[in-house]
């Protein structure tokens, strides 16, 4: 069976709950499709959720899918259930979809939303209390309960829409909501965003048709516009008329940026990229780009903002890389730090500081935190058995050991995990261990290490989380990861390593050891700030005044949400702790993963060579930001989004608005005489702008971008309906109308340029230059839509903003970056192993190529049998191919590859 769902489709709720309830989940494949995708071949209109049965047939009715799950688990149909389901389909659904549409899409509130469904809610309440049964069809929870619960949940999860007086409904709803399958379904579908989760889906649905018992106007458009109250419209118009005058004075730029009492002080960090790798698009969207959007937004709100990042430079991997390139670790760090800095500069990341972790400040602060932990008894010593390679004269990190898996006997198990059986391995338990670098057999040696006593700190951590989490904007995945770590109980963590390249441990007997990177990397944020200003403590020891937002991919959550807070709490030094931990899911590349070793995917330095401007990359990456679930970069989709959303929607609107001013009014914004229609448009734009703010305040970056596109769609429609290019040739009244429409449109364009600033800073600046938008209006975004280009304002020269991406251009890029692995690699097993190929494996392969080359040469010299030679040559070619893969060289002749 295969279940097709769509993000934010309300029908997913009952279906997932029923699947969970009837234990139908195991055999269930779940695919997520777009809201406009037609899954069922015989249905003209899109419909989700849909269950494709093994017979090939489709169930496209939500109730029928739920019913099917229940039937599979042995449930028998009965009249009462049928009656509830029929009622749900014919009476409840029409009322509910109207209510939800008003609430979610049109932003109505209170009785406007509750009105349509009140009768239905009362009906359920009466039925429950009359029968004095806890459930709809009897003593136990059944199909009817799940289907109705799922239908009602989007609305009733907000207590405002669960009327107090309906006591029976109240307790029925609470009982069901607290059950595990329902809870899980709700978490999956709502992602803790409440009713907003349904917005992307419902927005694409047609306005629900009228239903019995309620007078609804026939004009859908009238309907939509009528949803704004007169008061809202009046407020929007008043704000608009105040214009530039209502902008507050611009905050003076200060250097260094320091917290100011009484202001909102926002400290933003993005995860420190590891220095020895060039970041790929997934790294970029997960950390720096997401944080950049928020930092830029925060500045537009005039919040006192400091955004910092830097390279994480210590550790084994740097040492190895240095060995490989014949440089010192410091030289490697210098080289790669510059590479990183250049990439982020190209992507227009607005760091206030881009520092590094290999500084004296880092040593000072890390050692200080350590000393405080030590004196307070949160650090203890223990002996650790470790593998040491005598040949290489060093202790081996887990990933530098290979051997036979003690569980399944797999020959190439890694030191931390077996790839075959998936079990976690303690490296010293490997049979026949081998050093991956020199292939000699390491010996077990004991070594003294320091441990952070996390169990002792657990209670403090939980107290802090209890105060911090409620009401904060921690993403659901981060909350989940922290919850599961705490559920399993914290364990002591080793914080030292037998290495040279790291922060020295200030303790006798530990002179040749350093701190393990995960203990000191998160301290990097603090030391980077300390390198920026000697008043760093005003940011980092000031939890009362500072709001700390930390951005990362989800694999980094434990270090930021657990380890650093524990260290900081244990140090008892009033450290500023993360208020909002914003974690993304993963970004995939086409249909697979990014892989440096296989040369698959686009890496930061290559994006510049594509000829596609940085802002287009930013836009597309933010458009597909893995917010709530994994997403994938796709070349075709990028072309599509560029050509449809940027070129045809946004670019088209802004360009037309500007062109009309230039062509029809000599570049001078005309007089605007607002009609009731225009006032409503103002209110609509204001509403969408406020929605944008709500989303960005909650760091829903991807969704807020949709609001921008929605406004420009409104704008395009407005121009289309009012046809200023025709009216300009008409009567005096027509000409005046053309002027109003043009003036309003160009002001919407100006607003869009500011809303766009966090996402596409260069395009934003270009629009503002074209429109000659006054300076204060460029740097401040209020919650109201203002007339920032008043009548008489002279605009500049208008030109197109975006370029069309062509199919063959994208196709050649796809080829070049190895996406769309339609052609399966010849030896998948080998290639798979290459995914983790490090320099050692490359060395092994190089050796094998040399060896095989010698064999071939010898055979040829001996004038051996032709077939035998051919066979050995084939082996050689194969090895060379593997080597090329491991080194990240493309398989095809590297025609398009230019090293710039």
């Amino acid at each position: 069976m295969r279940l097709f769902v769509s993000e934010g489709a309300p029908g997913s709720l009952p279906v997932l709950a029923a699947a969970g309830r009837a234990q139908g989940r195991e055999e269930l494949l779940i695919s997520t499709v777009g809201p406009e995708e037609c899954v069922v071949p015989f249905l003209t209109r899109p419909k989700v959720p849909v269950l494709q049965l093994d017979s090939g047939n489709y169930l496209f009715s939500t109730s029928a899918i739920c019913r099917y799950f229940f039937l599979l688990s042995g449930w028998e149909q009965d009249d009462l259930t049928n009656q509830w389901l029929e009622w749900e389909a014919t009476e409840l659904q029409p009322a509910l979809s109207a209510a939800l549409y008003y609430l979610v899409v049109q932003g109505k509130k209170g009785e406007d939303v509750l009105g349509p469904v009140r009768r239905a809610l009362t009906h359920i309440d009466h039925s429950l209390s009359r029968r004095s049964c806890p459930f709809l069809a009897g003593e136990t929870e059944s199909l009817a309960d799940i289907v109705l619960w799922g239908a009602l949940y989007p609305l009733l999860q907000d207590p405002a829409y669960l009327p107090e007086e309906l006591g029976a409904l109240h307790s029925w709803f609470q009982t069901l909501s607290s059950q595990e399958p329902c809870q899980r379904a709700a978490e999956t579908v709502l992602k803790q965003q409440g009713v907003l989760a349904f917005r992307p889906y419902l927005q694409k649905q047609p306005l629900p048709s009228s239903f019995e018992g309620r007078a609804v106007s026939n004009e859908p458009e009238e309907e939509e516009l009528a949803t704004l109250s007169e008061e809202e419209i009046a407020m929007a118009v008043t704000a608009w008329e105040k214009g530039l005058g209502s902008l507050p004075p611009l905050r003076p730029q200060q250097n260094p940026v320091l917290p100011v009492a009484g202001e909102r002080n926002v400290l933003i960090t993005s995860a420190l990229p590891y220095v020895n790798n060039v970041p790929h698009l997934g790294n970029i969207i997960g950390c720096v780009l997401s944080a950049d959007v928020f930092a830029r937004y925060s500045r537009l709100r005039q919040w006192n903002t400091l955004y910092l990042c830097g390279t994480d430079e210590y550790g084994t991997a740097t040492e190895t890389k240095a060995m490989e390139e014949g440089l010192t670790p410091q030289e490697i760090c210098d080289k790669y730090h510059a590479i990183h800095a250049n990439i982020y500069r190209w992507f227009n990341i607005s760091f206030d500081i881009f520092g590094r972790t290999t500084t004296p400040q880092q040593t000072k602060i890390t050692q200080d935190i350590f000393q405080r932990l030590l004196t307070r008894g949160f650090v203890f010593q223990d002996t650790v058995e470790q593998l040491r390679c005598e040949h290489c004269a060093r202790f081996l990190a887990d990933r530098f050991v290979e051997g036979v898996c003690p569980f399944c006997g797999y020959e190439e198990a890694r030191g931390d995990q077996c790839d075959k059986c998936g079990k976690l391995i303690n490296a010293i338990e490997l049979k026949k261990p081998q050093c991956k670098v020199c292939r000699s057999c390491p010996v077990v040696k004991s070594s003294q290490h320091l441990f952070l006593d996390l169990p002792k700190l657990e209670k403090r951590l939980e107290e802090w989380l209890g105060k911090t989490l409620p009401g904060s904007d921690w993403t659901p995945n981060a909350r989940f990861i922290i919850r599961s770590w705490l559920r399993d109980g914290l364990k002591p963590r080793c914080i030292t390593r037998d290495l040279k390249w790291g922060t020295p441990v200030p303790l006798e007997g530990f002179e040749d050891k350093v701190f393990y990177v995960w203990f000191d990397a998160t301290i990097g944020y603090v030391s980077i700030t300390a390198n920026y200003t000697d008043q760093w403590e005003r940011w980092w020891k000031n939890p009362e005044q500072v709001n700390l937002y930390q951005f990362m991919a989800k694999d980094n959550v434990p270090f930021h949400g657990l380890v650093f807070p524990c260290s900081a709490l244990g140090a008892e030094d009033n450290y500023t702790l993360v208020n909002h931990l914003i974690a993304t899911e993963y970004l995939n590349y086409e249909d697979g993963k990014f892989s440096k070793s296989r040369g698959v995917g686009v890496f930061g330095d290559m994006a510049q060579d594509t000829g596609i401007p940085a802002d287009i990359w930013r836009f597309y990456l933010l458009y597909i930001r893995p917010e709530g679930q994994d997403s994938a970069f796709s070349w075709t989709d990028m072309l599509l989004k560029n050509n449809s959303e940027l070129l045809n929607n946004l670019g088209n609107f802004i360009n037309r608005a500007g062109m009309f001013v230039s062509k029809f009014f000599g570049g001078c914004v005309p007089e605007m005489v607002l009609t009731p229609d225009d006032r409503r448009l103002l209110a609509h734009v204001t509403l969408e702008l406020q929605h944008y703010h709500q989303l960005l305040e909650k760091v829903r970056i991807r969704e807020a971008l949709r609001s921008i596109l929605t406004i420009s769609r409104h704008g395009n429609q407005y121009i289309q309906v009012n046809e200023p290019w025709k009216r300009i040739k008409g009567s005096e009244a027509d000409r005046q109308r053309a002027g109003t429409v043009t003036g309003l449109a160009v002001n919407i364009a100006a607003l869009l340029s500011v809303m766009l600033q966090p996402y596409m800073p260069t395009v934003s600046a270009t629009i503002q230059a074209q429109l000659q938008l006054p300076a204060p209006a460029c740097s401040i975004l209020l919650t109201n839509f203002l007339c920032t280009l008043p009548a008489g304002h002279q605009i500049g020269t208008v030109s197109p903003l975006f370029q069309k991406l062509e199919n063959d251009q994208i196709e050649s890029l796809r080829q070049r970056f190895g996406g769309g692995q339609a052609k399966a690699p010849p030896k998948p097993a080998v290639v798979e192993a290459m995914a983790t190929a490090g320099p050692q494996q490359i060395q092994v392969l190089t050796d094998e190529v040399t060896k095989q080359g010698n064999i071939v040469r010898e055979l040829k010299a001996q004038k051996a049998d032709k077939n035998q030679v051919a066979a050995e040559v084939a082996k050689l070619l194969d090895l060379k191919k593997q080597l090329a893969l491991a080194e990240g060289k493309p398989l095809e002749t590297p025609k398009g590859k230019k090293k710039k």
Binding site: N57, Q77, N82, S209, S210, E212
Partner: protein, 171 residues
């Protein structure tokens, strides 16, 4: 009382001799079945399924889990889509979808005649009867089979063949 009339016809074709009493509720005139024992039942498809069980013809509700779910899906389709407020375009889409669904099927569930065929056909009757265009009729073969089915009990229409086939094999 259109729904009651339909249910009366269904009773007849199911061979239920003692007639039930129906009333209608609300603006949409939803049928209500008054039963002697227990609460009344409301809703066309709910009552229809109840009648089928009364007549011991449960196979008309489908025999496997899949069939049962498919039958209920099309019953729901009947009361939500076919009986809903439809514009001309909606009707056209609905018939087109149904036609393409039935392309490789004898009945709605595939090979077995069920309550879904009966109620859906009856619901579609007004569209088909009012239309001269063959293009918007659902799958002609299905229609033909169904016409035979309905001939005995359901009202004669201009579309019906004059043949007097009695209620069919499946029942």
């Amino acid at each position: 009382m259109a729904a009651a009339a339909e249910l009366k016809l269904l009773e007849k074709s199911l061979g239920l001799s003692k007639g039930n009493k129906y009333s209608a509720q609300g603006e949409r005139q939803i049928p209500v079945l008054q039963t002697n024992n227990g609460p009344s039942l409301t809703g066309l498809t709910t009552i229809a399924a109840h009648l089928v069980k009364q007549a011991n013809k449960e196979y008309l509700l489908g025999s496997t889990a899949e069939e049962k779910a498919v039958v209920q899906q099309w019953l729901e389709y009947r009361v939500t889509r076919v009986d809903g407020h439809c514009s001309k375009d909606d009707v056209r889409t609905l018939l087109k979808d149904l036609n393409s669904y039935l392309e490789d099927k004898v009945y709605l569930t595939g090979y077995n005649f069920t309550l879904a065929d009966i109620l859906l056909y009856y619901g579609l009757h007004r569209f088909i009867a009012n239309s001269n265009s063959a293009s918007i009729c659902p799958n002609p073969a299905w229609r033909h089979r169904l016409l035979q089915v309905y001939n005995s009990g359901y009202p004669n229409t201009t579309c019906c063949p004059p043949s007097g086939l009695s209620f069919p094999y499946a029942l």
